[in-house]
Amino acid sequence: MYKLEHISKRYGSLTVLDDFTLSIPKDRITVLIGPSGCGKTTLLNILAGLIQPDQGLVTRDRVSYLFQEPRLLPWLNVRDNVGLPLRDVLEKERVEEEVRRYLSKVGMEDYADFYPGQLSGGLKQRAAMARAFAFPAPLLLMDEPFKSLDLKIRYRLMEDFVRIWISEPRTVVAVTHDLHEAVYLGDRVILLDEKPARIKRCYTIDIPREGRHGSEAVQRLERELLELMLI
């Protein structure tokens, strides 16, 4: 279990988080949803250790991160980009083995020698997904990772993400403001209120993952969330 306890964070006179507490269940996907600028990314960056909170306690482990942008090094090929964070934690042979394994999981084994500049946006994000899964961290953070992709590619990438996650579950905290993405991915969806961020409602989703796209229960939940968000 990962925990954020009584976290406060201010930027100048703006209070983004005030006495915020959240526990994150192990090996589940927790999705934080809320309006833009409600402090979702700040929460994620506190979990990642990129930002220090002004007050409060964070219980966390090594983290992996799937960013909104692929954030690949343009001068390294896909193989070296995926392997980059592994080189300091695994032995050389293991790195190559793991890179191959995860590239095949995301369906990019034929692109290992390509440079990011030669890939489409979807493929770049796929490579970033391989990197995020390959990095041996118990906690995976995601900041709207499918946002900048067009609908078809976005759905396919979400499906692949869930498929890989089912084969090797780990604790995931994802941030989004896309309702469908939240309900499709999450085991738990937490709706946040604006500055300072507060938990407005917490849903546990027990709809089977196989039929979530287009399911009536999912659509009902999306409508409910939408109404709550508009209040």
Binding site: L50, Y65, F67, W75, L84, D88
Partner: protein, 257 residues
């Protein structure tokens, strides 16, 4: 027929040089005194005889060695200082005034001081270092400052080791700035080196030869040596451009696999 931009630029460049040569020829005819202004034909024939002399390559070699030694020293120290100053803001605050002072000091001041303090090749080494080091360091600092914040965040999150960060993120990001620094630094190296050689008067060297020619009123020789220096500068400039173009292609990830 369609002419490529490169070919067109080459033609324009050649035309401009030919224009200068024609004006030079006319001016030389008008002056009528080769001691004051020798014509292009006199200078080129002097250059041809000089190249055939056995000592010619000796002087060129000595100047090249001095220039490269000074430049490589400045490149190594400038890159190292630029990287640490770029990464640690406190060190930048420490180095920046020094760099500004060095860049604003006339190179003649360095030459005169070097003549007082040092002997032999140390004079040229010292002068080149003080002129080129700040150019390289400043470019590298600028490069570090412009490293993509998002990529920096990425390597931080994934706990990429310090040495690996240097080789996979810092150095490639800084490369284009460093290339600009190298081009500017090399260009100025030959200028200050010749000036330093004229004053330090080492046994061999283009600067020494130019000053000897001045003493014997061999103005055509002065011109011919100047052409040699220009040729050296152009060769290095071309090489640097070619390398940095290739490196830029790799950086942008457009290299073919």
């Amino acid at each position: 027929m369609k002419i490529s931009t490169t070919a067109r630029n080459l033609w324009l460049g050649t035309a401009a040089l030919a224009g200068v040569a024609i004006l030079w020829h006319i001016a030389a005819l008008r002056v009528g005194l080769p001691v004051i202004l020798p014509g292009p034909s006199a200078v080129f024939s002097r250059l041809a005889t000089m190249i055939c002399e056995p000592n010619f390559w000796c002087h060129v070699g000595a100047t090249l060695l001095r220039g490269l030694a000074g430049f490589l020293l400045s490149l190594a120290v400038g890159t190292a200082v630029g990287l640490v100053a770029g990464i640690f803001p406190t060190l930048e605050a420490l180095f920046r005034p020094l760099i500004v002072v060095l860049r604003s000091t006339p190179s003649m001041a360095f030459i005169v001081l070097a003549l007082i303090w040092f002997k032999g090749d140390w004079v040229t080494l010292f002068v080149i270092f003080l002129v080129v080091f700040p150019i390289i360091a400043q470019n590298v600092i600028e490069g570090v400052r412009n490293i993509d914040r998002e990529l920096l965040e990425m390597v931080t999150v994934f706990h990429v080791g310090k040495l690996r960060r240097l080789t996979v993120l810092y150095l490639p990001s800084v490369a284009s700035y460093l290339a600009a620094g190298i081009a500017a630094g090399l260009g100025i190296t030959w200028k200050v080196l010749i000036a330093a050689e004229v004053f330090a008067y080492p046994r061999t060297g283009i600067g020494t030869q130019m000053d000897t020619a001045r003493v014997y009123l061999e103005t055509d020789k002065v011109f011919a040596w100047s052409l040699v220096v220009i040729a050296i500068g152009l060769c290095f400039d071309y090489a640097v451009r070619a390398v940095s173009r290739k490196q830029e292609e790799t950086r942008k990830g457009n290299r073919h696999v």
